[in-house]
């Protein structure tokens, strides 16, 4: 009665093609450059022709980027080896940094170039750059894919280059490069290579250096942190297009720039490691680093539960005194930033002295050094800065729960209340602080009324109560 689906589909496709061609003629658009001819024939010659085309791609590519076409049973890839360079790295010092790789394991710097920015199974890593140390020398190699069909060979070569105990060093590799490679291995039904650990330098840079960088791109890190300029470079967004053009029969020449770009990226990973290790790798050296770096480092250590080191960083930062540059910037930031439109770049710095004091007090509490914590909160409160109210509340908490001194706690609350009133008077209310105070005062008054007066024991060791009461009310 009606024609079979396949037949009708063929006819609809022919219609669509005609329609498209008509529009194309109307617009008289030139053919996109280097469009590879589509092979419509289904003859035996197709296979040979396609295979030949693949081989030709590989040869052209190897020639253009001055690499070597390595091919075997699972296909072929283009390998580019570079002479090693001197780039010493102190692994002991690196190992002490937060998330720093342990000294004994091999490090592999890794960066990929891909056919698109979307992660997903249709995006291919067509260039993988690797860098490893042999003694003080840094050795780089790049693996380049000449055709979609050859991917298994490249994946095998990459797997062979990563020893199972090695640590990967990447820039945003946890979120992008590595998951993408894992997807590639799964696509070709291979197990992704094992590795001992992964040091992603993007979060590291964000935590420690971001406060003095325009943004966190690797290029910015090179210029503003490492003080170097790689010169003319291809823009990241152009890279997929250059490669796809080449696959469609276009020129391989733009890929030379892409290979250089990837080479520089991998090299910068190594430089960044060396920089971090030499400036922050031990307690003495980091005292000369900017206060913001030290504060960031303290946070990084604290995140990992390495509280002693975090405390050391904070002590260092407080000793170094206020960082003029940062304070100056934060004031401009405050004046130029609209409250409703927080901009990353003009965000007020949080590394002022009071923030450091508060961080330090919290760390002391976590370490169970409650007497010192109380002193630190009191310092903060007496300083009278914008965190003084918080300081008094924390003082009140310690007095109430540790020292069993509700009267003292109430007095601290009074001090906080006066601050809150003053703030309200000048029109900047602190609603959370006020609400907290209302609750706290009510409870303290109740306690004072109910309990028999008891003298607080002045030097009672507070470590015995580590049951989290303080943490719970914090």
């Amino acid at each position: 009665m009606t024609e079979p689906g396949a037949l009708r589909l063929g006819r609809r496709l022919a219609d669509l093609r005609r329609q498209r061609d008509r529009t194309a003629v109307a617009r008289s658009a030139p053919d996109p450059p280097g469009t590879e001819p589509t092979i419509h024939l289904r003859a035996g010659s197709v296979r040979a022709e396609l295979a030949q085309r693949g081989e030709e791609l590989a040869r052209r590519l190897a020639e253009a980027v001055d690499g070597e076409w390595i091919h075997g049973s699972s296909g072929g890839y283009v390998r580019i080896d570079r002479p090693s360079t001197l780039l010493p790295l102190d692994r002991e010092r690196l190992g002490r940094l937060p998330d720093g790789a342990p000294p004994g394991v091999p490090l592999i710097c890794l960066d990929t170039e891909t056919t698109g920015l979307a992660t997903g199974t249709g995006t291919v890593a067509f260039l993988v750059g690797l860098g490893t140390w042999t003694g003080d020398r840094f050795q780089q190699v790049q693996l380049l894919l000449p055709d979609h069909a050859e991917e298994p060979a490249l994946l095998d070569a990459l797997a062979a280059a990563i020893p199972p105990e090695a640590w990967l060093v990447t820039y945003n590799g946890r979120g992008f490069d590595w998951p993408l490679l894992v997807a590639r291995y799964r696509m070709s039904r291979r197990a992704p290579p094992e590795h001992g650990g992964h040091l992603d330098l993007l979060p590291f840079v964000r935590r420690i250096f971001r406060h003095r960088l325009t943004d966190a791109r690797l290029r910015t890190v090179e210029i503003e942190l490492l003080g170097m300029d790689r010169g003319p470079d291809v823009d990241g967004w152009q890279i997929p297009g250059h490669y796809l053009d080449f696959l469609r029969g276009g020129s391989a020449a733009p890929l030379v720039g892409v290979v250089r770009h990837n080479h520089e990226d991998v090299r910068s990973l190594a430089r960044l490691l060396a920089h971090a290790e030499s400036h922050l790798g031990d307690s003495l050296d980091r005292r000369t680093a900017p206060v913001g770096d030290q504060a960031g480092l303290a946070r990084a250590y604290r995140r990992l539960g390495r509280s002693e080191e975090a405390l050391d960083c904070l002590d260092g930062a407080l000793e170094s005194g206020p960082d003029r540059r940062i304070l100056a910037r934060s004031w401009t930031a405050i004046l130029t930033t609209r409250a409703d439109a927080p901009d990353e770049r003009t965000r007020p710095s949080t590394h002022d002295r009071d923030a450091l004091l508060a961080d330090r007090a919290r760390l002391l509490r976590r370490l169970g050094r409650h007497d010192e914590a109380l002193a630190a909160w009191r310092d903060l409160a007496l300083g009278g800065g914008h965190r003084a109210g918080v300081g008094w509340i924390e003082v009140a908490k310690v007095l109430e729960h540790r020292r069993r001194d509700p009267a003292g706690a109430l007095e601290a609350c009074d001090r906080a209340s006066r601050l809150a009133e003053r703030a309200r008077f000048i029109g900047s209310r602190l609603p959370e602080l006020e609400a907290d105070l209302v609750r706290r005062r009510r409870r303290l008054s109740r306690k004072i009324a109910a309990a028999p007066i008891r003298r607080p024991t002045a030097n009672r060791p507070l470590q015995e109560r580590q049951d989290g009461v303080v943490a719970a009310t914090a």
């Binding site: 009606t2 496709l13 997903g120 055709d147």
Partner: protein
């Protein structure tokens, strides 16, 4: 004086029917006798833990349809279960899934629900069953609201993943390597609310399933597909078209039901000359009041948010006059906060809430227990949805009442005029076309992105090579040295396709009500002309939006939330040209044809129409460029011997014009009922002298690029369409044509009804097929 004494449903109903003002509007009253349960024992192969879990929940045997479904799955057959509301469909797919997990905890299952809310309710029910069985099963919803850390846990460890087709399409399939545990071990795929996968959406979902099954094959799994559908005419065919595989049909319902009354009601005729009738909303409220006053739990369904507001206000006003239980009547619709909704649902279950007025938000899934009375203010658009709404009433014991009040549209009139359609089986069919070229190509791109194509590999009806070669010419894919086709573009193809629209070029609708504009939907260009022109009132999830600006070049419509008492309806001037004929046959008085057409459409003016009364309160011009649409159509060519318009011939030319339009409108209404589509999705063009056929012609075209298979069925069901149209017109109580049959009367002295009927009879229509509607009018 009014009385507020508790009374039984039956006595209230008797009281109502004793009053002539009520009884006069009842077109049909059906009493469906109670039915005992048909059961089968729990099969002995069912894991003992699951059996114990069922027993602990009071389930000692299964209904026959549940037993048949799980036996079919056990025999490795795909199955489609036709389940009336509240017949225990969850067990049909939950038991096979639990059994698979009991056999092998590494097994995985994927549940697809058309909407997010539905999935969340079902996952809770499934989890309870698993808990009762003492099986530790991790079942989780994976949708747009799932937080990122939970997502990765679901990917690796979720044994039952509950999601919707949009999420599967855009978030799961393109990232299948992250889901390899799911794909490698997938045993069961559940597709609930199968009947909603029709039209454009269904065509897309069919292709999403092609992609899903292709990936399963890649990972070496062979899942069984369990579909659950409301009662429609072609469940097995729908399942087969959607999944591409044959399915065993299970449609012998074993669930018991109590006695229920179903009443079809027409509002009173106010003016025979224009055919004007009373408001469906007013009548619905009148029916609801006696039940509410008697303390019977009642749900009233309105078709839009505004309708819900009007119904709710009406009920509360009436109850206030007589100090009735006003505060126990609640509204329920999209836009309410989840906590409000949960509170109302709970109130309905425990009886605290007596009456609820709702949009179709309460039609599916959501558990509100069983009520006494369901009143539908207007036909909800399909027989399946009608039953889902009526099914809200019906307790295990006692009597329940369902009332369908027709609103002023030919579709509603047609349905209440054909009680047998509603009661004796469903004539309506869900249609989709997975091979719509636009849809197919979009998904072929996504499929190539997901996995390269082998040479000669099939996608849909045939080998994909030709289609891939086409895509290669456009630069999306390439054939590599190993002859496989690879994705070779920087784009992410899944993000370019919305499952809810046909073409890729869509107008995005942006809500600017709040400070941060947000996208609330998209419509294809063709629909955009009439739906989101400037100053249109656009309805989204029953909420009204005013279109402030339409940036045609940027394909963006900026809208703002409003609360107004009218809607807009746009007219388009359409020229139609047949391109190709797929099938053609002679019939009485002419020929019927199915083929491809080119539509040139220009939106001209819009009218502002008042809700409820449809009163015209203003109009405006639309300034948009003409657009072309290539689509499929079915058409009727009137033979020269039937309609001779030459001087002295059988027809006057102007009369034939009116007859074609009147008959066409009635056919359009009947077609939208039979094929479960919005009448707007079927365009109508009539030509007294078609340039192509040189004869009078009625065209019905699909308002979707390439069509979704509707016109092919219209062609095949021409007889039913003509008979139905003739019955609709003949049965209408108006004098000479009205908006409920032949369309608004343009010339008062012309009897459009008689003309249209004359034409339909000449084309072989037999209006004696199907009962006539007798509402006291002429004829």
């Amino acid at each position: 004086m009014r009385r507020y004494a508790p009374a039984s449903v039956e006595s209230v109903l008797d009281g109502i029917l004793a009053e002539p003002s009520f009884a006069g509007g009842v077109v049909h009253h059906e009493v469906i006798p109670p039915r005992p349960a048909l059961t089968a024992p729990l099969p002995d192969w069912l894991d003992p833990r699951i059996q114990r879990g069922l027993t602990s929940r009071g389930i000692t045997e299964l209904y026959v349809h549940q037993a048949a479904a799980i036996e079919a799955v056990r025999a490795s057959q795909d199955v489609v279960v036709v389940t009336p509301t509240a017949s225990g469909k969850t067990l049909c797919y939950a038991l096979p899934t639990l059994q698979a997990l009991a056999d092998d905890p590494a097994a995985r299952a994927l549940f697809l629900f058309p909407t997010k809310a539905l999935g969340q309710d079902q996952v809770a029910e499934f989890a309870e069953l698993a808990r009762a069985a003492g099986l530790s099963v991790s079942a989780a919803t994976y949708d747009g609201d799932t937080p990122a850390p939970v997502r990765s846990a679901i990917r690796t460890a979720g044994q039952v993943v509950v999601t919707n087709p949009d999420m599967l399409h855009a978030a799961i399939l393109p990232h299948h390597t992250k889901w390899f545990q799911l794909f490698e071990q997938l045993r069961v795929i559940v597709i609930d609310e199968l009947h909603t996968y029709r039209g454009v959406f269904g065509s897309h979902v069919a292709n999403v399933l092609r992609r899903l099954l292709r990936l399963c094959a890649h990972y070496g799994s062979h899942p069984i597909i369990v579909c659950c559908s409301a009662t429609i005419g072609n469940p097995a065919e729908l399942a087969a078209t959607l999944t591409g595989r044959p399915a065993t049909l299970v449609d012998r319902n074993g669930a018991p039901s109590s006695q229920r009354h179903v009443l079809l009601v027409e509002p009173p005729l106010l003016d025979p000359a224009t055919g004007a009738r009373g408001s469906a909303l007013g009548v619905a409220d009148r029916w609801a009041l006696p039940f509410l006053r008697a303390g019977r739990q009642t749900i009233v369904f309105g078709r839009s948010r505004t309708a819900v507001e009007i119904l709710l206000t009406g009920l509360r006003e009436a109850l206030r006059e007589g100090a009735g239980p006003r505060s126990r009547i609640r509204g329920y619709r999209g836009g309410y906060l989840p906590t409000e909704r949960r509170a109302i649902e709970r109130g309905l279950r425990d009886g605290e809430v007596l009456g609820v007025v709702s949009t179709n938000a309460l039609e599916l899934g959501v558990d509100i227990g069983r009520l006494d009375v369901a009143i539908l203010a207007g036909y909800p658009g399909s027989v399946a949805a009608t039953w889902q709404q009526l099914g809200r009433a019906g307790r295990r014991q006692g009597v329940s009442v369902g009332v369908l009040v027709a609103s002023a549209s030919p579709v509603d009139r047609y349905v209440v005029g054909h009680p047998e359609y509603l009661l004796d089986g469903a004539p309506e069919e869900a249609r989709l076309d997975p091979d719509n070229l636009h849809v197919l190509l979009a998904h072929l791109k996504a499929a190539t992105f997901e996995l390269p194509f082998e040479p000669g590999e099939r996608f849909g009806p045939s080998s994909a090579d030709d289609l891939l070669a086409f895509l290669a010419e456009e630069g999306h894919v390439r054939q590599a040295g190993d002859e496989r086709w690879y994705w070779s573009s920087e784009n992410f193809p899944a993000s370019e396709v919305s499952l809810r629209t046909a073409a890729q070029e869509n107008v995005v609708i942006i809500d600017t009500t709040r400070d941060r504009p947000r996208v609330i939907g998209e419509v294809d260009l063709f629909s955009a002309q009439t739906l989101v022109h400037e100053d249109a009132i656009y309805l989204h999830e029953s909420i009204q939006f005013h279109v402030d600006r339409l940036d045609w070049d940027e394909r963006k419509a900026y809208v703002r939330r409003v609360d107004v008492d009218h809607y807009t309806q746009a007219d388009r001037a359409v020229t139609l040209k047949p391109l190709d004929v797929f099938a053609e046959a002679a019939r009485t008085g002419g020929r019927r044809v199915h083929g491809e057409v080119m539509i040139a459409s220009l939106a001209t003016i819009y009218k502002k129409l008042k809700f409820v009364t449809n009163e015209n309160i203003g109009w405006g011009r639309i300034h948009l460029p003409e657009i072309e649409l290539q689509t499929t159509a079915a058409w009727l060519v009137v033979g020269p011997e039937t309609a001779d318009v030459r001087p002295g011939g059988t027809w006057r030319r102007d009369e034939l014009d009116i007859a074609l339009l009147g008959a066409g409108r009635a056919i359009q209404a009947v077609a939208s009922v039979l094929l479960m589509v919005d009448p707007r999705d079927l365009g109508l063009v009539t030509q007294v002298r078609s340039p192509h056929h040189e004869a009078p012609t009625i065209y019905l075209y699909e308002a979707v690029p390439g069509g979704v298979g509707l016109s092919e069925r219209l062609y095949e069901r021409t007889d039913e369409l003509l008979d139905g149209a003739a019955g609709l017109i003949a049965g209408c109580a108006c004098e000479g044509g009205c908006p409920m049959c032949t369309g608004p009367r343009l010339e008062p002295d012309v009897d459009a009804k008689a003309l249209a009927l004359r034409l339909l009879r000449a084309l072989g229509a037999d209006r004696t097929v199907g009962p006539r509607v007798t509402a006291g009018g002429p004829e």
